[in-house]
Symmetry: C2
């Protein structure tokens, strides 16, 4: 039995050793404050700006269009609150368009906007987790200030048609500056094109710890000329948009991580697509009843997320049994794993509460091997049988009570 | 000549090697997401909660009263916006009391509150940078929602009478929950008592990178029962008050750094008080005209900040000449070093624009030695003479133009 098989890469990824190496000096000898007017500060400042340029180049953006934040959550909050703040006095009631399957770091700030009086259109998705462009066109109005739509969903891996959306928005807005188009690309960055001009977005969130970089750093791409206000005020760092002493070591690591991810993207996609296909085909041989959630067509999804429903099996029990055997998977998104409620994403694609609570997510990483997955395939039938013995088909009371 | 003499410890401190060692495993094998329902997640969760407990113990607080943020700036913003949000509908016009010498991460969010319609009382300070308790009593009203007063000032090191303020506030508010009392203790943590019950504060900001911990992490102490709302929304981490995947390595490092700082506090104070005295006494022998900014009485200041005015000498020139010789000092606070405006703190204690622009800050650290300071004492007269030759007494045009 292997020591550990980590299949929770959609929640977070281990740091790439090359990233750790890159960060090293900035935890050591190069410790200055980038805002300090001395050599220690200038060295830190240079590293910071070099990292910004690396990332900007990969996005096909200008350096000043890359704003570093402490997390994708903060970047999403900055995009949403930052844009809406600028609409004061421009429309009576700002309108926002989003989807029912956004990450909590988009849904929660948008809920707040709703409390503050904004009108929100939550686009529904089909059973594969894809929005309908015609529904989108219907809700697009001159009062629409912001559109925030996730690029790749973190629970089921479905991709939204960002380029097509951008085209529709561009034609609609003509010379007006609103609505602005934001996408959370945290889960997409490891697998998809990030060139902002190809995508046509005004704002885009990137996360470091989803691409083998350190936790505690992320970025928001903000197209030049976009009207936006900060959510954190102070010393005026990050072009006045995000105050705080810059976390140079993490920013340097993030840039390195994105560089590596970008160079390995195509090969990673090919490997993971094959691994996924193998895993699902083999799985189906043992489980006639297992259901695969999310799009089937590779064009409509990222390859690393495999979301499965095992009818009648509590995901909590399944995770526990796998965990005991060194297999680390997850249920829904990491942020929501303490919730009693079933996943809002699985509900949105039509799963019942029970089905949602019988679903788990295996997310592959660059370190995932066929051997590892074969071990999981060997273990799964055993643990499922064990759970079926331990518990009756219908979900246990204690599950709801936890 | 020594390689480098870092005297900008008030801007940021190098990581303590013990802190780096403590963080190591969490950049490596322990990489899970603390919210993930598997062993990798549980290991990360345990490290996170152990770090929280370490810090809580040092503050004499409950674990749930310690909220991790990405920076002291974010912690200050959370305290200020988070408290004011809760006052909606409680008072017609919320009032805030602060000082003229707060850090930008307090002044800027408070400026925003002013734009939103809050009434702000900016307490003035005397020539030593100390507020007047009677002036404070005069502006304290039933509409006062928040009081935010810095513990130790980052530019001149002056201490405000936090305990006395807390006593006055407690007597004033009786059974009412407002006003809440917040202090930014970022610059104080390395030298002063942090027991929240002794201080009597409701909220207190701590910064990791000012106490030989990593950049990118800080904490806000929030007394149990305090009414506060988040400023960043999402997965609901940090007891719902600060969403985002927790930066476990940095949090672990921060806790270790505070532990070390706490254990070394008394000896550090004694050493730095002696070094300061030596430095100033020797300095006066060479510079009859040099002025020491900030309190003289050790009871009214932290020992590590030495703010000096060299009449007629541009601080930019002085820093440049020192920098060339491996001496790293600073002007004002790091965050403001790109500003054209003179320091708001030095202005508040009565310095003219010219005097302010002739002032520099040497801030001592645990790594500062008498040898290092003696080298600075040897170099200073030379570089000052050089600048006096290079430039006329009155400040250069280009200086205002930069």
């Amino acid at each position: 039995m292997p020591k550990e098989i980590y299949l929770d890469n959609a929640a977070t990824t281990p740091c790439d050793p090359k990233v750790l190496k890159e960060m090293g000096p900035f935890f050591g000898e190069i410790y200055g404050n980038p805002s300090s007017f001395n050599d220690s500060g200038r060295k830190a400042r240079k590293a910071l700006e070099d990292a910004r340029e690396k990332i900007a180049r990969i996005l096909g953006a200008k350096n000043q269009e890359v704003i570093f934040t402490s997390s994708a959550t903060e970047a999403n909050n900055l995009a949403i609150f930052g844009i809406i703040k600028t609409s004061k006095g421009i429309v009576a009631q700002p309108q926002v368009i989003t989807t029912k399957i956004e990450h909590h770091s988009v849904l929660e700030p948008i809920k707040k906007l709703e409390e503050y009086g904004a009108k929100i259109n939550y686009l529904s998705v089909n059973k594969e987790g894809l929005i309908d462009l015609n529904e989108f066109k219907k809700v697009l109005t001159p009062e629409t200030i912001l559109i925030s739509i996730i690029y790749a969903n973190n629970e089921i891996g479905s991709l939204q048609p960002i380029k097509k959306l951008a085209k529709i928005i561009k034609e609609f807005k003509k010379d007006s500056e609103y609505p602005y188009f934001h996408t959370d690309a945290s889960q997409a960055a490891s697998h998809l094109d990030l060139k902002v001009n190809n995508l046509g977005v005004d704002l885009m969130t990137l996360s470091s710890h989803k691409i083998y970089g350190p936790k505690g750093v992320a970025a928001l791409y903000i197209k030049r000329g976009t009207k936006i206000e900060p959510i954190i005020y102070g010393g005026g760092q990050e072009f006045g948009l995000r105050s705080a002493t810059e976390t140079v070591p993490l920013i340097v690591g993030f840039a390195k991580a994105l560089e590596i991810t970008n160079s390995k993207r195509q090969i990673t996609n090919n490997i993971q697509e094959k691994l996924r296909e193998h895993f699902i085909n083999e799985l189906k041989k043992n489980f006639s009843s297992v259901k695969i959630n999310g799009p089937e067509n590779p064009k409509d999804r990222v390859p690393h997320i495999i979301n499965l429903t095992f009818p009648g099996i509590e995901n909590e029990q399944l995770l526990l049994q796998l965990d005991k055997r060194g297999i680390w998977a997850s249920a829904g998104s990491a942020c929501t794993s303490h919730e009693i409620e079933p996943s809002h994403v699985l509900t949105a694609i039509g799963l019942s509460k029970e089905a949602s609570r019988s679903s788990i997510r295996f997310s592959l990483g660059r370190q995932t091997t066929k051997t590892g997955l074969d071990y999981v395939l060997k273990i799964l039938p055993k643990v499922v049988k064990k759970i079926e013995k331990l518990y009756p088909k219908n979900l246990k009371k204690h599950y709801y009570a936890r």
